[in-house]
């Protein structure tokens, strides 16, 4: 598997019916920059940026922004590294503005949202920097808030594999599972009151 193949397999698109589409990055380090073909940027942003503009690094439970080009966090210019906390405002270049979120106290997974009118390529409603788990559901502290879902759904990783856990019965690609089931890079998960697709990129 070449390097690009490995990098690409670290990303998924999570399409949640009636909620939104999310770019899920599984790696501990993600690059942000313009979507220049061949460069393999993890979070391609259609904005006035360099090909590799900045990097977000996850170290255990904490996050750092590594500025390759000009970047600011909470208004202060970043020399090399800056810590990222819940609500940190990231500015890349002159106009691209992002907000860093860590909504769930029990998970290191973070979410990047756009505060400016820029978008990723392909368009996603938010970027999920997934650590071990990603929680979807009606709770306001979830990584993906799905207001009308009856219960929370958990996606978690163990090593290279990913699993889905929720209460009761649900289907993965048509196969019924109880409480927990394995999830591949491309699959459809359907349950009582929810449905979503995972697509590898």
């Amino acid at each position: 598997m070449n390097e690009r193949g490995q990098r690409e397999s670290n990303r998924r698109m999570l399409w949640v019916d009636a909620v939104g589409g999310y770019l899920v990055c599984l790696a501990d380090q993600v690059t942000l920059g313009q979507p220049i073909h061949g460069r393999g940027v993890d979070v391609p942003i259609l904005g006035d940026l360099s090909g590799r503009h900045a990097r977000i690094v996850r170290d255990g439970e904490s996050y750092l922004l590594e500025a390759i080009r000009d970047a600011r966090v909470d208004g202060r210019s970043v020399e090399r590294f800056a810590p990222l906390r819940e609500g940190s405002r990231i500015e890349l270049g002159s106009a691209v503005k992002l907000v860093f979120r860590r909504p769930h106290p029990l998970s290191a997974t973070a979410r990047l949202e756009f505060a400016s009118r820029h978008r990723t390529q392909p368009t996603a409603d938010a970027v999920l920097l997934m650590a071990d788990s990603c929680i979807l559901g009606p709770n306001a502290r979830n990584h993906v808030v799905c207001r009308r879902w009856p219960q929370d759904v958990l996606l978690f990783r163990e090593g290279d594999a990913m699993y889905c856990r929720t209460q009761g019965e649900f289907r993965i690609d048509g196969h019924t599972h109880h409480d927990c089931g394995p999830v591949g890079p491309n699959c459809r998960i359907e349950g009582e009151g929810f449905s979503m697709n995972l697509e590898s990129m």
Binding site: D17, G21, T123, R148, R188, G193, S195, N197, E199
Partner: protein, 662 residues
């Protein structure tokens, strides 16, 4: 036509745009079950990625073309009477405020798909759900302008939208986009096929839809409801079931008390039950509103909506007067009283069952009187205007501190009547004036209680208004009397006419003031009669004073029987038969004692001007004059003038309007 693109600023710099990407999903189904999962390709050239929402007509999907173009795909299920004509007409419409339609395709299963522009970030419905109490004035107006501009464009091209609602309105990075036009035929099909309708669509439906009439006025009605919801956060007609809401559309008057002018008037006109009485087009409606000023960046904060909800209602209502308020007339009591008196007069003029020739005569004579007495009242007017000007200046300086307190007090008293009842009453009275209500209705307890609970300031305002109105009517009545008497042969001297006018005015005021305090309460009649008698004595004394100072002699009318001279007591009458102060006081005192004058000023009386009451008053006055040997027909004329003036000028609650709102 407005061609400008109206912009609504996005959700602000600090608030992330696609936070949780609430799509415009329908409220009825919790578990959204979409027919096509992500990855399916029912249409050649597009790959569905996920479902976005469901409506009464079908499902919407987010899809990407093979080249990477984002689109929304709307699935219109196959129906027996599929009508593609409607949407085909809309295919090539282009407007910055219309959601673009790219194509219409049919899949191999025979279903129809509409390929259209995809806009993320949720609809206006989601925004309104999150922001309780409506949006800030500028933002609401900007949204409304965008929608109305799009609707005006559609109407200009012969298309009626028919399904305007917040769920169909989006904001594409600040630009308002209206979708789902041309699709209403499908909506009506699916309704008939028995799909469950969400109550949401019914809230914007005009009453004539029940008769199957689909004109442009349908959209104007929906725009009215939308404007109300944008400004207040609630639709005017709500209910537990579809049927209840529909009934309200058909029959109930909307409660627009939360809106300030000019929005209230615009919404009221748009929500007229009769389509012919609404605005003729969306463009007219836009013209009737102030334009949206520059929306401040970060103006549309969803976060501020929840802050409002957290701090409770008073926050929202206090902010309303400063943002939404665009009052053309400052809320100044004296001016309002004068205007209200003017309105009351106009309504009274319309309501009074006077024959047209009589009305004409009154008008002409009134004009003559005004011109004749110009010498006296013009300097008075100038002085009073100057004094009023000074008062206004002082008031404007003192005012800003007072206004906030008033608003908060108004907000804290949910039960108190809003300070617009006279105008609203007149509107109601004007509506109902065609349908006369002759049967006497027992006054509703709630209305009586409301009368009692009226704040004193409002009471005073009404009183002043009535007094001014009574004065004008009394003057007019005196002119009428003079004319009538001159027709009978006796010419009236100007000073006699002046005395008549002055006493009538004084007498009507003497009735209005206590009646205002006794409003709504039954009271003890004998006590009231006693009070009125005392007032009558005072009026009589004043009448004599005026007669004396003006050197008015009141000769008895020639056709009335003269009392024998020896019967006249010397203290009451002068040697030549003129009544002295005691006679005046006795006559007026008795007059005020016998009749229940306060009933003529009762807002809950059955009709505004009752000729029966007038007749009774006249007869009693004649009898009283006869008893006290007061020269006829003067007391009769005065009593008649007072009665007419009081009835015309005192506020009156139309029982039909009361019954409807109760």
């Amino acid at each position: 036509m407005h061609e400008q693109v109206v912009s609504v600023m996005p959700k602000g710099d600090e608030m992330p745009r696609h936070a949780n990407a609430h799509d415009a999903s329908a409220p009825e189904q919790v578990g959204a079950r979409f027919t096509y999962p992500g990855g399916s390709r029912p249409l050649e050239g597009y790959t569905i990625k996920r479902g976005v929402g469901q409506g009464g007509f079908g499902e919407i999907y987010y899809a990407i073309s093979d080249a990477g173009k984002e689109v929304a795909l709307k699935l219109i299920r196959r129906n027996l009477d599929v009508e593609l004509r409607g949407i085909r007409q809309c295919l090539n419409l282009k407007h910055p405020n219309l959601l673009a339609i790219f194509d219409i395709r049919q899949d191999t299963a025979g279903d129809t798909w509409v390929v259209m522009e995809y806009i993320g970030g949720g609809s206006l419905e989601d925004l309104l759900d999150a922001a309780s109490g409506g949006l800030p004035g500028d933002e609401a107006l900007a949204w409304f302008h965008g929608v109305a501009t799009a609707v005006a464009y559609l109407h200009d091209h012969g298309i009626v939208h028919r399904d305007l609602k917040p769920g169909n309105i989006f904001s594409d990075e600040g630009v308002v986009k209206v979708g789902d036009y041309g699709l209403s035929k499908f909506i009506s099909c699916s309704r008939r096929s028995g799909h469950t309708e969400s109550v949401g669509t019914v809230h914007y439906m005009a009453p004539e839809v029940a008769n199957g009439r689909y004109g442009k006025e349908l959209d104007v009605y929906a725009l009215g409801i939308l404007l109300c919801e944008l400004l207040t956060g609630r639709v005017p007609f709500e209910g537990e079931s579809v049927g209840e809401v529909l009934m309200k559309h058909l029959t109930a008057k909307p409660d627009l008390s939360a809106l300030a002018e000019p929005y209230r008037g615009v919404v009221a006109k748009a929500l007229e039950k009769d389509p012919a009485r609404r605005f003729a087009s969306a463009g007219e409606m836009i013209a009737a509103l102030p334009g949206p000023s520059q929306v401040p960046p970060g103006g549309a904060r969803v976060g501020s909506g929840s802050a409002n909800a957290a701090s409770g209602r008073p926050d929202a209502t206090v902010s309303k007067p400063t943002i939404v308020l665009a009052e053309p007339v400052d809320d100044e009591p004296i001016l309002r009283a004068v205007l209200d008196a003017w309105h009351q007069l106009r309504t009274a003029w319309r309501d009074a069952r006077l024959a047209t020739p009589l009305k004409l005569i009154i008008l002409v004579v009134g004009l003559f009187v005004v011109l004749a007495m110009a010498g006296t009242w013009i300097p008075l007017l100038i002085v009073s205007l100057f004094a009023y000007g000074v008062y206004r200046v002082i008031r404007a300086l003192v005012r800003p501190a007072v206004r906030a307190v008033d608003a908060r007090r108004a907000a804290a008293q949910p039960g108190a009547k809003p300070p617009e009842p006279p105008r609203a009453e007149h509107q109601a009275a004007r509506h109902e004036s065609r349908r006369r209500w002759h049967r006497r209705q027992p006054p509703a307890k709630e209305v009586a209680a409301a009368l009692v609970a009226k704040p004193p300031r409002q009471r005073l305002t009404e009183l002043v208004g009535s007094m001014l109105g009574a004065a004008m009517v009394a003057l007019a009545m005196c002119v009428v009397m003079v004319l009538l008497s001159s027709y009978q042969g006796t010419t009236t001297r100007p000073e006699q006419a002046a005395w008549l006018a002055l006493v009538s005015v004084l007498g009507s005021w003497a009735v209005l003031v206590p009646a205002k305090f006794w409003e709504g309460t039954p009271g003890e009649p004998m006590l009231r009669r006693f009070v009125m008698m005392v007032i009558g004595l005072a009026v009589g004394a004043a009448a004599f004073g005026m007669a004396d100072s003006l050197l008015v002699s009141l000769p008895p009318g020639s056709e009335y029987p003269k009392p024998p001279d020896y019967q006249l007591p010397p203290s009451f009458f002068a040697g030549d038969g003129r009544p002295l102060v005691m006679a005046h006081m006795a006559a007026f005192g008795t007059l005020f004692l016998v009749l229940r004058w306060w009933r003529q000023a009762d807002p809950l009386r059955s009709s505004r001007l009752s000729l029966w009451t007038l007749a009774v008053t006249g007869v009693v006055a004649a009898v009283v004059a006869g008893v006290w040997h007061f020269p006829q027909p003067w007391l009769l004329m005065v009593a008649g003038s007072i009665s007419v003036a009081v009835q015309m000028a005192a506020p009156w609650e139309n029982p039909k309007a009361v019954a409807e709102s109760g």
